[in-house]
Structure formats: C-alpha cells, structure tokens
Subunit: 338 residues, 3 copies
C-alpha cells in the first residue's frame, strides 16, 4: 500500500470522476455512492482502491482481486469478479498513469528562495520559482515560472531553465538552454566539456568545447546521467525524450523527439538518433552514426553502423535483429552437433 509518509493522496474520487480522468467508460458493479481513496496493485487493493490490469499474465490476479474498481481493456472486462466496478479503456496503463497522477499530482512547487541558496544578483529567478538551500544560481542564469531547483544543485552562469522544471538535488548544469517541464534527476551532469582532445604520442591537446546543450520540452533525464556540451555545434535532446539513469551522451549528439534511452546506454559524439527511437539498456553507439526514426536497439548492442528507420538491431557488433538471432541459433546447433 502507498506510504502516506512519502505519498499523501489527494481525493477521494467517485467512479464518474475517475472515468473522466482516465477517458474511460464505466462498467461492472454499481459504484453509486462509493469513494475511492488511492491506487493499489491488484493483489493489495481493497474495496476503496483503484487498480489496473495491463498484462494478460495477471488475469488470475484480476479475477481474484478485492479492488473496488479496476482499469481494464474491453476484451477482458467480462473476467472481472462480482462487486468490482470497471473503468474500461483500450489503454489501461496510460489510463492508470492519469488516475495515479490525480491521486498523486507531481509536486506543486511552493515558491521561495531559501536564504541558504547562493543566487547571483545578476541571475533572473521568476517570482513563482523555488530554490532550495545550498543550491547555486550563477550570473546571467534564468529560472522560469514554477521551476524548482533542489538542494545543492548547481545552475551555472548563463544557463536558461524554462517553466515547470525540476532540478534534482546535487545536479549540475553548465552551458545549456532548457525548455519547459523538464525533469532532471539527482546527480545529472549537463554541459561540461566533452571529451575532446587532439591525440598525440607526445600528449593530448585539449580542444575547447564551444557548443551548448539544448534540451526540449518535457524531457526527463535520470540520476547521474551525463550529457556533454557540443564542440561548436550543440548537443541536442528533442522534446519528450526520456533518458534513464547513468546514461552517457557525448558532444554534438542529437536525439529527436520522444526517444527512449534505457539505463547505462552510451552514445558517442556526433551520432544522430531519430524521433521515437528506443535504445535498450547498456547499448553502446559509436560516433558519427545515424539511427533512424523509430529504430529499436536491443539491450547491450554495440552499434558501429547506421540503422535504417523503423528497424530493430541486436548484438555487438549489431546486426538486424533476425540475423543476430539466426547467428545465435546456428552457433548453438554447431555445438550440439559435435
């Protein structure tokens, strides 16, 4: 059950209100006069909770759940136990996201500048923004409406942060321009010098990195991920792209809109990734590649060549996924034959 110490719930809501929030049809047992106080998983929910069924694997838990209401696909609605009210939708997981957001809205930010924050007089912090203790906002930086810079974060000189952003504790931002509704988790590092050297047998000469990092609306970047600034061109993260923890993004990389980058991926300098591409965990991309829109890269893949739009690749070195799996099967047979 949700721990109210960390996640106090809004509400309660009745079924009609939830149906509106979830863009769902009501069905199942009559819920007139009933109030729902929170979300809960199928196996933990009680009569005043709302649950969801997203995966057929859990139909058993659904049929046995004591949840008072449940978000469910129309094809599975007739499997509901007696007494369960239904919120019927073709996308129960997305509907769950909306219902859970209603019970647990993302923190409304209480404006204010901590007296223990270090805000340069030449910074421009919106009156509705919040800056917590130990946070630093440099000269010429700007913090947009309702944005929240958490404790001990660092917003360097000239950085622009849009509206409704959250900068997690201990994150550091340099040389970057950030749009609205961007979430940066703790320890994110944005805009430091990329790894740029003129290599040589007598020593490596540091090349000034003169580009920025540009981050679009609605981007989320996971804890301790690192995004280097460009060398002259910029590093760019397109709107709606979601990046998990411990991801490395090199200088001049450009990610399109709506990309999904799973934990511990590394993208080398100047590689371009198209809209809505998905990169599995620990995948590594060489530099100067072009990954097409909608491409899918399996976890731990190692990419040394361009990937056409909409295709799936796997393996290290990465191949079209079917070819990779055929090779694995052939290798397996080779051993068994002996």
């Amino acid at each position: 059950m949700v721990d109210p110490r960390f996640f106090p719930a809004q509400g309660p809501f009745d079924l009609a209100a939830l149906a509106g929030i979830a863009h769902a049809e009501t069905g199942g047992a009559d819920a007139a006069g009933r109030a729902f106080v929170d979300v809960a998983p199928l196996d933990a929910a009680g009569p005043d909770h709302v649950s969801f069924l997203d995966n057929r694997k859990y139909v058993g838990a659904f049929t046995e759940s004591a949840a008072g209401a449940c978000l469910v696909h129309p094809d599975l609605a007739d499997r509901a136990p007696a007494g369960m009210a239904l919120l019927i939708t073709r996308d129960p997981y997305r509907a769950y996201a909306l219902v859970a957001q209603a019970f647990h809205p993302f923190d409304a930010v209480e404006p204010g500048l901590s007296p223990a924050a270090h805000i340069d007089p030449a910074a421009d912090v919106d009156a509705t923004a919040r800056v917590d203790c130990g946070a630093v906002v440099g000269a010429g930086a700007s913090i947009g409406p309702r944005s929240h810079v958490m404790a001990n974060a660092y917003v360097g000189p000239g950085v622009r942060l849009g509206a409704d952003c959250r900068v997690g504790p201990g994150a550091t931002l340099q040389c970057c321009l950030i749009d609205d509704r961007v979430i940066l988790h703790p320890g994110v590092r944005i805009g430091q010098d990329g790894f740029g050297f003129a290599l040589g047998g007598q020593g490596h000469e540091k090349v000034p990195q003169l580009g920025r990092v540009l981050i679009g609306h609605d981007v989320e970047i996971g804890a301790n991920s690192t995004i280097d600034r460009g060398t002259g061109p910029d590093t760019e993260i397109g709107p709606g792209t979601k990046i998990d923890n411990l991801v490395q993004i090199g200088h001049n990389v450009r990610l399109g809109r709506g990309c999904v980058v799973v934990a511990q991926v590394g993208i080398s300098g100047s590689t371009v990734v198209g809209d809505f591409a998905m990169l599995g965990g620990q995948a590594g991309l060489a530099g100067h590649l072009s990954i097409g829109a909608g491409a899918r890269v399996a976890a731990q893949s190692g990419l040394m060549r361009d990937v056409p739009p909409g295709t799936t690749v796997a393996g290290s070195p990465a191949l079209p996924a079917k070819e990779h799996w055929r090779q694995q099967a052939a290798l397996s047979k080779l051993v068994k034959r002996r």
Copy 2:
C-alpha cells in the same frame, strides 16, 4: 606503507592480542616482547608489521618477506622464513580484515550538527549522530545513533536512516527506509522516481512512482550508484548485500541477503535476485527475471531468462557457463579449420 596522513594506526598490538583478534593460532618464530604497529603487504612489511598470505601465487614473496608476523593458512606455515612469527588460520584474508580493522577502526563518529548543515526543525536527529556542513535533512526524516551524514549530502523528507550508518558526501536519499550499519558512498542516488512511462507514439505519459526503497542492515552501496524507488511495490536491498560503483537498480527490484553486485551492473525493473548471488561487472539483467540464490553471473553477461539457483551463466545472451564456453571454442575452431 600506510600513509598516516589519511590512516593513523591504533595499536601497537602484541602477537597474542592479534591472535585473539584474528581467531588464529600462533606459531613460527618467538614474538615475545615484540609489538606490531601496522599491517603492510608482504613485499613492503618490516619486522614491526603484520602481513598476510592469501594466494599461493605469492608464496615466493612470503618466503622472502621481512614481515615480523604473517597471517597464513596451516598448509603453508612451514614455508615461512626464519624469524617470522605466524598467525595460523584457515581463512587468512578474513583474518587480515579483522586485524586491519583493529589497526584502522572505521571512523568512530564524533557527534554534532554543523551550524552550516540544513536540518529541518521537524527532523529527528539522534543526539549521537553527526551531520556535516552543507548537508540537508528534511522534515520528518530521522537519523539514528552514531550515524554520519557527510558534507552536502541530502536526506529527503521522511527518510529513515538507522544506527551507525554513513552517508558519503554529495549522496542523495529520497523515499527510503534504511536499516543499521549501512554505508552509502559519495554520489549514491537512492529513491528518485524510476523510469516509468506509459509509452506512446504521441508522447510518453509519466507514471507516478509510489513505492519506496528498503535497505537492510549492513548493506554497502558504491559511489554514484543509482537505486530507483518502487512503482507501488518497493525496491528492496537485502541485509549484507554489497553493491559496487556505478550500478543501476531499477524500480521494484528485490535483492536478497548477501548478494555481491560488481561495478556497472544494471538490473531492470521487477527482477528478483536470490540470496548470495554474485553479479559480475557490467552484467545486464532484463526486467521481471528471477535469479536463484547462489547464482553466479559472469561479467558483461546479458540475462534475458531466469537463472536457476546455484548455477553459473555467461555470455550475452547468457547461457549456462559451460555451454557458453563450448560455443566460444566451437567458433574458434571454425575459423582455424578454414
């Protein structure tokens, strides 16, 4: 030799005291009246140092060592040079750990709250705890006896930290409950939102993450590792589990007791790892897997299936280790035959 600037030694100890500390038998040269001032490696030790022999590879260094005393397995005791006192034990490395701890006890914490710490009036900090400058302790958080929150660390609202814990500089804790004797290294990130989205071609909807992170007694977590909080269920790290640097642990993951997780491992959401499993460096585990107790996962493996208890797997995709190595051998022969 140990640098006293960083590691001042307790002691000295005589051989009998060391035998008691190490649960060892004495032997070898007579050490009556001799005092030992510190530990040192075999090749650097002098007559007032204690060394250890753990690996047969170093028998040569042992026979030539000037160490005054040495921890050694009974089978190798007769290889000791003349003049060396012996501390005979079947587990010399563990015995060394105890002896080294005697000379270099883990910091006893001097209680006190830095005037430059930011402690919410509604936090509950034990009178014997220590909170250093720039550290933040949020409302409703509690810090147990003798625990030490180092500089610029962040202990978020409601977080519970047990007794004798250490939170390294710049670490951040949110939405978590932590038991006793837990060591969190610098830059550890615990309890931020997991990577939870209802993915969609028009954009990805953020799903509220309503679980916590529960960390058992005697856990250690390495620098810059990240552990996301659960989605509703909790993320759990069992007692005595040791996690190295730059490890990623996704939401709802459960690690059992005494697991060993080497650097840069990534564990995807909802995977369960049994007691005393060992995960080699850079291994990647897909989500929703079950890894049995005592399983061993080779470095850089990529796990896409469950692993039975007590088995060893290797490769990406991971196979039973013998099968993986047979495949590698077959591939090698295939090339040589041509």
Copy 3:
C-alpha cells in the same frame, strides 16, 4: 556560431598572430589588414572566422566555405576557394586546438574564498586559489596556486591538490594526492573505499582500504567517473591520461602516461595499463591484468587476459582484433550457407 553568453572570445587576431599560435605557415589569399574574431565550423564560418579541415570527408565543405581563414594540411591547400587565407600545418586538428584556446583560454581563475565555502582552519589554501560557495576543504588539505574548487565540491582531510587544477561542482575527493593542471569534472568521485570484502557464506567482512589515489600532471577525469583508493598499495593515474565520463577504476589499478579511457569503461582491481593505451567505450577489464603500452581495446570488449604492448583486441571475451573479426565473418557465413 559560438554563443557569447557562455564563450566570450578574446582577440581579434591577425593571420600572422594565428600562424604563430598554430605553428603554421601562411598561404592562400592575402589577409593583410584583416582581423579574425573567432573560430567556427566550415559550414558556419564567415570572412572574419577561422575554421579547420581535418578530415578528407569534409573537402566539399572546405571548397564551399566562406571562412576567412582555414587551418589545412599542405596536401589539400590547393583545394581552397579563392579569397580564403590559409594556415598550413601537418596537424590541423591540433593546430585548431591551439587557435581555439587563444580565442577561448581556459578560465583564468579570479582568486578568492567564498564566504559561503567551508574551509577548515587547518587547511592550506594558496592565496591565488579560488574556492566557491558550498565547497568544503577539510583539515590538512592543501590547494595549490590558481586552482579552482567549484561550488559544493568536497576536498577531504589531507587531500593535496596541485597548481592550476579545476575541481568541478559537486565532485568529491578523499585520500588522494593530485598533481598540477588536473581537471576533474562535475560529480567525479575519487578516493572512496574500494569494493573490498572477505566474502563468505555467512556474510562479507569489510577490509580496510589503506591506500591512496595518486593522480599525475595534466590528467582529466570526466563527469561522474569513480576512482577507488588502493587497498594498501595506491591507485595511480599517470600524467597526461584522459578519462571520459562514467568510468569505473577499481582499487590498485595503475594507468600509465597518456592513456585514453572512453566513457563507461570499467577497470577491475589491480590491473595495470601501459602508457598511451586506448580503451574504447564500455570495455570491461578483469582484475590483475597487464595491458601493454600502446595497446588498443575496442569498444565493449571484455578482457580476461593480458594484452601485449601495441596490439589491438576486440570482443567479449577479447581476442586479437583480426581473430575476432574472422570469427564474426565465419559466423555470418555459417548462417548464410544454410
């Protein structure tokens, strides 16, 4: 074009001055009386910019560039468009580094201790050094001339930092001695306990880590990388070695001079890497290995054996690169034959 908000340019410089900076010969169009105000890429440069051609792939952009001057190899000088002044050199990229440094010198540090820094009275901070707000300098630590400790960084007790170093925001240093001109990016973790345990079925005993981290002149370490201190011997990073982001270096590792370690590499304990070795991204090195001078390790390789000097290895497990690629080719044929 370079954003003056972040990167104000020095200069302007005339062609003769640039030739001196770049150790280049002048050529091409007459540049008498012309002044150059900044660097820019070939496709963005105008008549008052200096550009460079390093890669034959971009000869087309070179012939069409409006750059007023360009750094170019003698073999390609005759492809320059009319009106372009030339700076002719056999190493245009290194020359570009020098010219870009002239326009954008690495921050000259304005000395001063922020009143919001936490500097122990027993620390020794040079009068020309700079310590920013929220940074911590412990007892017995020393900060050399013109070194800059940025906001919320932590320099632990006894740490020695040489001259002209930069410690990025939120970085943490413990138990280490650092030479001159070392750059540590944000979130770097140096000198925490290594992952040292006497493993056992009843629990893992922590082994005190009594060595330091020694870092040579001109080293650069990327954001959120982690370097553990030695167990008794030291961990050592040789002069001029460059380490990218999110790299893990275990206890007792020794890197020689001028090594290049790309992002997300992991090096296990006690491995020794020779001078000017190059480790590709996400490579993993087992412990106690010896990697020869000038060796090259392909991205994502997994090293379980020593690597002779000057050789190239690839694959996981790593093999001599040619053998690895032959195996990949054989595997590919095997599938196609069926």
